[in-house]
Symmetry: C2
Amino acid sequence: MTADSPLVSLADLRAAAERIAGTCLRTPVVPLVAPDGRVPFAVKAEGLQPTGAFKLRGATNAVALLDDEQRRAGVVTHSSGNHAQAVAYAAHAAGVRATIVIPETAPAIKVAATRRWGAEIVMVAPSERHARAEKIAAETGAELIPPYDDARVIAGQGTVGLEVVEQVPDLGTVVVPVSGGGLVSGIAAAVKALRPDVRVVAVEPELAGDLAEGWAAGERRVWSVEDTSRTVADGLRTDSVGVLNWEHITAYVDDVVTVSEEEILAAVGVVVRGARLVVEPSGAVAAAAVLAGRVGGGAGTTVAIASGANIDPSLLAALVGTQDQTVV
Amino acid sequence: MTADSPLVSLADLRAAAERIAGTCLRTPVVPLVAPDGRVPFAVKAEGLQPTGAFKLRGATNAVALLDDEQRRAGVVTHSSGNHAQAVAYAAHAAGVRATIVIPETAPAIKVAATRRWGAEIVMVAPSERHARAEKIAAETGAELIPPYDDARVIAGQGTVGLEVVEQVPDLGTVVVPVSGGGLVSGIAAAVKALRPDVRVVAVEPELAGDLAEGWAAGERRVWSVEDTSRTVADGLRTDSVGVLNWEHITAYVDDVVTVSEEEILAAVGVVVRGARLVVEPSGAVAAAAVLAGRVGGGAGTTVAIASGANIDPSLLAALVGTQDQTVV
């Protein structure tokens, strides 16, 4: 990000990588091995982060950028998912107070997962969560850390892109799940800065395909949360990509594709069996697109970002035990 | 290994690390997060190796040490498990022929897993496998790569120890599963060379406790395969540790403990849920010992080696779905 451009720069990304090194894992790129021994693609295992998802990178970068006064006032965000856990963990690791505004409709298991990092939880009606978080920020001086529409967060998530370029010398295509667009914005900025020849493909569930519709139309689209909430990929139910994210996506992403619910669920089992990694439905969306042949071919290795692993154990058990071993 | 000592040296280990770098993954050390947010220990994720187990390290080192004549003749081994897949994969990666002698009693799924890397499979009666592998080596000039009682293999497995010392600056204890002893021999040699203050604890299933018995008696013990085959940890059913392995263990290991079958199965679920890694029963044995409080405390981080992830999907499903979330 410079005076001339709202887009995160390579310098922003590299600075973020230094800031998060002590808190976030440099996750491995793991080959996905088919039953016949072929390796159709690899997955980057973001589910191995201490909070089980890539979101920790952006939250850690944002917390690291607080000045002394902000550190004393703490941070606040609204989320019931992986971003909430990420902010709680990053704040805890930095010795900063965190307040997380959670909709009353959130599953108890997600509330508990956030509380365990010591954050203060404020339960509100779903429609009030944005306003309440902003009110807390205004009243207490706490710094609001948005889940995706934020340059600090985008730069943090983009460190995934720096790593994958280093880890896979013959990289050909990076496939990234999209909800609000923080991850794909950062990865695309990093990949295009270092390896403009590498393709970046964004993937959404069909049932939360606001970006795919906007990509086709040439303008950012907003869906209803009622519509996006139909997908099993509960990390990807945001109603639209963010404004700053749309800028990054249109500048850097090569293609946007969608996958069906059946493809997402099948991909969970394929990743668990083929790469020995736990993955949640949202984290299997990129792999699902490759498995469905929707990403296209081309030279070089394809890497699907397995963005998270916070899956209900009983759903995991059901998807792992299925007998379909089909891979690309 | 020098003229004066049969034990692998730090130079052997470092040379092995260079040889295997292009084929084996530098696996991450992943914190195991308890439901309340505490991190009682971490696991080193050897199941992420392309063949799903640490065995690839030793096999790759042994294949890399072949001279030109040996490369032309190929390699041979006898195994139905993770070592067979490792030799097949390492040979394939190096462009060398591999012949794997497999007992007729091996599950079809393991035979298929070995065949997929292009190895030639020779099925024999279980009692004939050693003799047949040696006969093939004598007749064809193929180099025999033993599963554990071999300095090349020990040095390869020991690269796990080099990595964990680098990855965990405050390392206090390394906990390692034992069958033939290749992994614990190499890790203990590496750890004691670099960090003599770090404890190395070896773990066996009670039902395959030949080393624990030998450790108490002060001499290497051999159990019957009928006895060791009772454990669910099918990678740890060897009848004894190797001769060279016994030398390493008595020189470098601090303690040997055992775990029950129930503790092993419970630990699979804890590792999958707490570290988001697939793990097979053999790979959960070290974690089981920590969870059972059998490793002892002391300063520094405890790292359990999660040695492999080749688990039947239906067993994985059964163990993941259980509701016991108890962690240390």
